[in-house]
Each structure stands twice: as C-alpha cells, then as structure tokens.
Assembly symmetry: C2
Homo-oligomer: 223 residues x 2
C-alpha cells in the first residue's frame, strides 16, 4: 500500500500572513461581539484573505448551502484538496475557533486529530467528522492520522504555529499556498520561525485562478 503524503494548504496574504491579529473577545461569532470594531476588523481581513473560496460551488455544496456557485480552476483545486484528504490534523486554537463557527455538520467529513494539552473524549459530529484529542505531541498525532488515512493524504489544517511545528520537524512533504492579493500589515505570519537551515523547497506547480495564485512546493530536508 502506498502511504499518503503529508501536506498543508492555506491562504496567505501577499505580506505573508495567514491570520489577522486576534480580536479581544472570547467568542468571535457571538452576537454581542459583532459590533466590536476589532471583531469587524478581524472579519473583514479574514474575508478578504478567503474571498476566493466563498463563491465556489464546492464550498457551498460542502457546507450544505445548496446548489450554485462558481466552477473553474479554483473550484477544481478546492475539490481536489478535499478529496485527497483522508484525515486532518489541527492545533488546539484552530479547533477552539472552529468549534465556535463550524456548522453542526462540520466540513471535514473525516477523522480530525487535535493536538492539545486537554484530554477529551472523541467528539463525533453528523456527516462523518470525528474529532480525536491527542495529548502526547505532534508526532503521535501524525502517526495516528496516517494510520487512519490509509492511502489518502494527511492534511495539517492549521493554525500557523502548528503548521510551522510540522514543517520544522521535517514531517511535511508538500504544501500549497493560495496567495491572496491583500495586505494585512500585522497578524500571524506563516513562515516566521521557519528553520531555514533545514527546510528547502522546490516549486512543483503554480496555477493562477480568478482571484489568487495557487503555489505548490515540495519540501526537502537540507542535509
């Protein structure tokens, strides 16, 4: 059996950010947060970064928004990324944010392994998503993810810090950046802290779509 690849796929601003500066509220998505100027700023930046995804047919289907939406290169890429993914691994902060915002029928439809310090029983959602909480580190989470993914690929879902941990540990085979034509000016930079003495890249694919460019790199460990 061919083992799958380990990859990540994120949207990045042209100045290198994958997330805005956090807004100072407990729950971004709570009704009382919506008028907070920092929540509005967070939402506006997040929407600008991800604006290429929301109109896609695949995105609408996958979240159960019904028919319609754009087809084309970006849609094909979004669908292929979903289909190759047998399991997603994510950090605790991404999970906490998602827990506030994902619909009940969470958009993964596969096992998800959450790297955390907090023990918790598996959390099964309708539609095939089950969250498993792993408290013994990123390598253990990846081992469990590989076993569950079979011959499909393991996606390191995020956030930025978790991706960087896997990248610097030499555990990522390739990644795709959807480079968005926006500037954040501040926030979480994906590649701050990358171990430049160990990580070496080769551009393997570069596909423009309507709003962004999808850049794919193979990762090699420098000897």
């Amino acid at each position: 059996m061919m083992a799958g690849k380990v990859f990540f796929s994120v949207s990045m601003s042209l100045d290198g950010y994958v997330a805005p500066v956090p807004a100072p509220v407990d729950n971004l998505f709570a009704k009382e947060s919506q008028d907070h100027p920092e929540v509005r700023r967070w939402m506006a930046q997040w929407m600008a970064l991800q604006q290429w995804i929301f109109p896609l047919r695949f995105f609408r289907e996958n979240l159960g928004f019904g028919d319609g939406g754009e087809e084309g290169v970006a849609n094909d890429i979004a669908r292929a990324t979903f289909e190759r993914t047998g399991v997603t691994v994510m950090g605790r902060r991404m999970f906490d944010l998602g827990e506030q915002s994902w619909p009940e029928d969470a958009p993964f439809h596969t096992p998800v392994f959450v790297v955390t310090h907090r023990r918790r029983d598996p959390w099964e959602r309708p539609g095939g998503t089950t969250f498993h909480f792993v408290t013994d580190g990123i390598e253990s989470a990846l081992d469990q993810a590989r076993a569950a993914a079979g011959d499909r690929d393991v996606r390191i879902g995020g956030g930025g810090e978790t991706i960087l941990q896997y990248l610097n540990a030499g555990l990522v085979d390739e990644f795709t950046i959807a480079l968005s034509p926006v500037f954040f000016g501040a926030g979480t930079r994906l590649f701050d802290g990358v171990d430049t003495s160990r990580v070496e890249l080769r551009q393997i694919r570069s596909e423009p779509s309507e709003r962004v460019t999808h850049l794919t790199y193979a990762v090699h460990r420098r000897q």
Copy 2:
C-alpha cells in the same frame, strides 16, 4: 501621447524578503571581503533569490557575457521588463551597492534617477546609462523620470524602502514579484510598513516559469 506606467519588479523570497541582512563590510565585492562568513551568507542568499535570472539568455546578453543561455517564459519576461523601461528610479543605498558591482557598461542603458541627500554631477557610463542625482525627494525624482521616459514606463528599481515609499505615496501603478522558493528568515521585507489603509491590489497576471512564479498586481488607492 500616452504616459507610461510606474512599476516595480523584484524577486521576493516566499517569506517576504527582497534582501538579506547586510553583511558588516564596507564593500561586499572587495577581494578582502570574500572570506568573511557574513559576506558568504549574504551572497548565498542573494544568489538563491536571484537564481532564476542568471542562466537567462537575456541576462547574459545584457551584461555582455556573450551568447547562450536559457530561453522560455522567464527569459521573455526579463526581456520585456527591460524593454518597457524608459527610466529607472532608485534609492541611494541600491546605487551605492551597485556602484561597487555593476560592470563599467552598467546594465540599465537608460537614464537612472537616484534619490539621495548627496549632491553629485550626472555620471555618464558607456552604453547609454546616465545616473542623475536628485536631492529634493521622491516626487521630484519621479517627475524627472516621467519626463525622460516619454511614452515608456518608469521602473522603481529599489531597494525595498524606496519601493515602499513610492507605493505608500500612491505613485505605483503596478508591480511584479518573482516569487522564489527560498526562505531567508531575516532581512529586508518588501511589504513591512505598507499602508494597508490606502493600498489595494488586484491580481492581473500570474505566470509560472521553471524556477519561480511571476505575479503581477495593479495598485489602487483605497478611497
């Protein structure tokens, strides 16, 4: 007469850098500098960033290295960038570095306006390059550049700080990034300090070549 556009075109690392951390020597290119480990580090990073340019047929021709070299997308882009450029504007630091390294027959073959605080008579080089030193600011340098460029375009040559000044002043129409699959980890980041409240982008072209992706954006001033 159609006025030309104002643009810049630089190579950027995937983590956003356009120049390495400076090496602590007066002249990077002096013989006695070559064994300094920080000079070696600077050179290695610079070469990695620009590695897509050196093998090109156009690059070799333009520096008088003779025949040969690669043709293809990257070569066509490098040639077209040269041909559209009626005048280059650059900052004082880029000039100082170039003065140490350009061949006598400097590679611009057009007027070059250097933004500086240091008065100096025009400096004419063989092959059509004349450096003019402008001491009354970036707008004056651009006005003079536009007048000299006629219907061709004005290139803001660099370095990063000078490009950012023009970008934030709303004086750049479009730009192209050759995104290189390398990480610097430190250095001069092109878009640190970009005025996100004023600068808005639209992706207008995205072309992969063998080693890098050439990303072109139109710049709009946010109202």
